[in-house]
Amino acid sequence: MLEIQNVTKVFGGILALTGVSLKVGEGSFVGLIGPNGSGKTTLFNVVSGAFPPSKGNVIFNGQAISGMPPNHICRQGIARTFQIPQPIKSLTVAENVMLGTIFGSQQIGTACGLDRAREEALQWLDFVGLKLDPESYPDRMTAGDLRKLEMARAIATRPKVLLADEVLSGLNRDELKDASGILQKARDELGLTIIWVEHVMHVLMKLVERVVVLNYGMLIADGDPASVSKDERVIEAYLGRH
């Protein structure tokens, strides 16, 4: 359903992505890994429309989406979470999620008022297990709760594909379990296709069914977790030549 075709992204003279091609089928759960600076977030930025690719195409459900603005791509059904969760601090927890319900792919609340959107937003807060007062302001939240809010907002846009960018970074052991559990649940219960960038390898490898590895902006491995973790080039990329 999502096809990345030969995507190259150049910043100044630096090749952030070099001819990356990737096909992701509906309902799959893909881990995207690679050392720092290997181009994972750049790839997310290209797919979500933060910037267009220098070369290549992104095809979603048979339609070329590369070059479209991010709000358009979100409405087509591709949502993302950001590496550093960024709630709107002057909006309540519920209102933050309502942004997703209202402006996402379903546009709930644009015609029938905010009550319906609020109801729906509360359901997503429940879905991610965020047990805060929905009418409180997100200025003093724990890292784990911020992640949950971030994921609730992304899922509230009712995407078909979720790009999860390092949802585990900075979390403690219990929070790790919660956050990764939300991705699993989103896949299993909502049928979302998930591409997940992560550095916390031991959690990722247990959950995903396929791992794609980037190094220096190039795709160097693609397969099931067991075989990728044994791949020579992947070990070399992470540990250096020995």
């Binding site: 603005p69 991010p70 709107i88 601090k89």
Partner: protein, 286 residues
């Protein structure tokens, strides 16, 4: 003397309400579109002329002329976004400032060409309300009540409607807002239309109070700018509070000394704030 000061105080509060409305528009545009609308006061002048024109040239009833003036200024707001700001959204801030500052020259000279340099106004006699020794002009009172009601409606709009949520999201985090599917262009146009319509509304409130001339807007641009920066740029509550502080301070000073000293005082207050709290009264340091 005491009555005079009380009257000045009341007039300051009443005028502060209208200034708060003007500051709100300038603040909203700055907060959402991230540009400083240098010609905001000149738009009040333009709105004034529109209403004057509809009323005197087309003989449209005054209230309807005012409504048309508000709509016309809303459309002008959209036009400004389309023609001036959209092409400069990614330009350096200085270019944006210069473009909007040049709009002052364009608008003022356009007014001079169309309506001439004479003072124009719609003669209206509004009753004066008396409480003992205190006299209040009903035109001030109407403007104040209208401004406060409008601010209340704007508050509800920003907090209770989905477009309001969208405006607040774009104001705070554009990237995130786009990420949840908000089209920033729609929000920009909406903000400019609202900001423009507010200048039309302020002009309507000013009709029974002032006469208009091509340079009528300059003092209001300065006043709105002083109020907004004094309260903290982009901070709507700060703008509201400082509109009354500046309004009362200038009005009382004008009675105690002169109008010129009052203007000086406003700027002294402003400079003092910049020296003590550069982020403004309610602003947060960044």
């Amino acid at each position: 003397m005491v009555e005079q000061i009380i009257m000045a105080l009341l007039n300051g509060i009443l005028l502060g309400g209208v200034l708060a409305l003007l500051a709100f528009g300038l603040n909203l545009i700055f907060g959402v579109v991230k540009i400083i609308h240098m010609a905001y006061g000149q738009f009040v002048m333009l709105g004034f002329y529109f209403i004057y024109f509809f009323y005197t040239a087309w003989h449209i009833p005054l209230l309807l002329s005012m409504a048309m003036g508000i709509v016309a200024m809303g459309l002008i707001g959209i036009l400004v976004q389309l023609v001036i700001i959209n092409p400069l959204l990614k330009a350096p801030r200085l270019n944006q400032l210069l473009a909007l500052a040049s709009l002052i020259i364009v608008v003022e000279n356009l007014a001079q060409v169309i309506w001439g340099a004479d003072y124009r106004g719609i003669p209206l006699t509004m009753p004066i309300i008396q409480f003992g020794e205190i006299f209040i002009r009903s035109s001030f009172l109407i403007a104040f009540i209208g401004a406060i009601l409008t601010l209340g409606l704007l508050y509800l709009f920003l907090n209770r409607t989905y477009l309001g949520l969208g405006i607040r999201a774009v104001a705070q985090d554009l990237e995130m807002a786009k990420g949840v599917g908000i089209n920033p262009n729609v929000i920009y146009y909406l903000t400019q239309a609202t900001g423009g319509a507010l200048t039309g509304l302020v002009a309507a409130f000013f009709i029974p109070i002032y006469t208009v001339h091509p340079h009528f807007g300059a003092s209001f641009t300065l006043m709105a700018f002083v109020i907004v920066v004094f309260g903290g740029m982009g901070n709507l509550l700060g703008g509201f509070a400082s509109a009354f502080i500046i309004g009362i301070a200038t009005s009382v000073t004008a009675v105690l000394s002169s109008k010129e000293i009052a203007d000086i005082l406003a700027l002294v207050l402003f400079i003092g704030m910049m020296m003590i709290r550069p982020q403004g009264l309610f602003g947060t340091e960044s």
